[in-house]
Symmetry: none
Amino acid sequence: MTAEIVSVGTELLLGQIVDTHAPVMARLLAECGISCTRRTTIGDNWDRLVGSLKEALDRSDLVVTIGGLGPTVDDLTRDGIAAALDDKLIRVPEYEAKLRDFFGARNIEWNPSTARQADRPECGRMVDNPNGTAPGLICEKNGKVVIALPGPKGEFDPMARGPVREYLEHLQGGGVIHSRVLRIVGMGESSVETRVRPLMDGENPTVAPYAQTGEVHLRLTAKAKDREEGERMLDPVEAEIRSLLGNHVYGINEQVLESAVIDLLVSHSQTVAVAESMTGGLLGARLSASPGSSRAFLGGAIVYTVKAKTELGVDENLIKTAGPVSAEVAKALAEATRTRYEATYGIAITGNAGPAPDIDGKPIGLTYISIATPTGTQVSEHRYRGIREDIRHRATQEALAQLRTQLL
Amino acid sequence: MTAEIVSVGTELLLGQIVDTHAPVMARLLAECGISCTRRTTIGDNWDRLVGSLKEALDRSDLVVTIGGLGPTVDDLTRDGIAAALDDKLIRVPEYEAKLRDFFGARNIEWNPSTARQADRPECGRMVDNPNGTAPGLICEKNGKVVIALPGPKGEFDPMARGPVREYLEHLQGGGVIHSRVLRIVGMGESSVETRVRPLMDGENPTVAPYAQTGEVHLRLTAKAKDREEGERMLDPVEAEIRSLLGNHVYGINEQVLESAVIDLLVSHSQTVAVAESMTGGLLGARLSASPGSSRAFLGGAIVYTVKAKTELGVDENLIKTAGPVSAEVAKALAEATRTRYEATYGIAITGNAGPAPDIDGKPIGLTYISIATPTGTQVSEHRYRGIREDIRHRATQEALAQLRTQLL
């Protein structure tokens, strides 16, 4: 079975936004054992859209479209699919009623074009969208399948990974490509590759490294009869990698570092509070991103100014003499937030994220990270390169990695 | 003149890496006044590569390929272009000598296949690659043009923005496509469209809406002789839209809402502090994301627990009786953070971001946002849908939008 992906939207075509959904969809197809042979990006243009859908249907068994399902006049995908399949659109009254209820309950003005989202090709069925108003579509006609997914990330992801994945697995009937990602922190890509090199020559399962900001991912992929056989094939490879990399492997698949840290804290019945200068709340935002993080994350202080730092309990003279970006102030902040919020650990980040050297002449990227623990306080100095956003992200990544080491 | 982009590589096709070069190339084409009508991604497969190049040449005047120019057996683009143009490859002895020198000087083993990088179609010329061994290509035959660029970022970027851009400007002989984005908050996509509908029928400039999480963008695009003429054509359209949408237009192009709010605060010599429960630091992270935000953002408290809320100065009995997710607690938090950090405005967010109803039975998505000002405190209630990440983002977006309204 072969498939193609058609991404729809002038903003995508002209490069004003980067298409991250098509890669997700391509990986999902592979995981279900379906060969993706081509991806196309097309603008909000009727003739080109219908043309490219027809060509894709001529070449392939399955076409997945992404985007263009909204209510405005330049949302053409629903109509385009009906045209390419030589089918007609019908309105689903129950869905229109649901949309009217939704708009009514929120006092949002009803616009006649909104009702277009209640249309589907006669040969298709709707895929429920719990996170938005436009449903997805699965259409089957003349031995061909067209699946349509909405563009907004919060709507695309759950629909693609949930009901659409389930449908694809059922459609394919046998044979899957099963993957598992091991997430590694505290080692660079080449160090990881050097250690796992012998495993990278395997043909089934395969092992491939990918560098991310502040971490490395190893993707393990098995071709197998079904998902269970795939799991069994990957288990010994994962065990081998863990014995080669030790504690550097912090999680698998979608688990992010902040959720690994929260899990460790919960399993130790311990807690953490933060004091953030340079990162302004970003570390707290990461620690509170996972469901259930309130079991271990207590909160903290965003200490963007000298006043906010002294308010937390740091000596004003220390800030004057050592400077806000200093090991001394980082240490004092970590200890103060640990005490104030009665946490097992207090973490502080202070630094200069740029774009210019700060008033004390501290260079861009200079960052101090401190962790106050029941047995003492550690401070480390870092010099990050890159843009402001990268520097702030790397600092939170390092703080989380250090707390994790502390917890192991 | 129309163009298409063909990205070549199995890793791209299967979504193992995200294609960031094609968007760069698409923007370059637009800036040179060339309409990009389609982008295709194809794997390292001879028949599909040659097929897609031939189709693109049938449809368009110009085809830009990215990737597949290296020395290994799965680098097929150079040969594929020659086949699609019905041309033959010739070896360039001077370039082969240069490659041999390069490899000799670095003691890298010479491999016969390396010499393939010294080949070019007879109708083409090489584009120098100062950062790698594979040159680019510009081929002209039968009124069609094919440009080939290498895949590695350090090689692609300078070549695309340098000699290729120069060639495209010369090819096009003048004329640019100039865009401007107006960013709108506090109105849905269909309401925006209803109001600006008459402007959307214009052919030059064009006006098109795009929905983002919590805001709407209107893209204005003019085809013009040069950038200056483009600016002059867009000015009256922008003025018309501003008169239709009023204060809902908060910024243009890359300006984000948090930076618009910081700018307003600075211009009023006013300040803001936060108290974040549900968002755990995300609002602070946004307010501190722009350079220079410390002129107006003072910091605040991440009040994830009851204890952290009382520590900021909220009455424990109030939290017990009204519940942490309540208008009363939101108001108390906003006032407490305003007082504690001596800010002009205090903003508080409390709510349940899911994925389950909280212990008091407050439903997922229920959120209270409060702003304490010098003349009083306002609270609003919201019910967001979507995943945890969206709910948290929307809450910070609404808080920023309300603060902006307050400042206008």
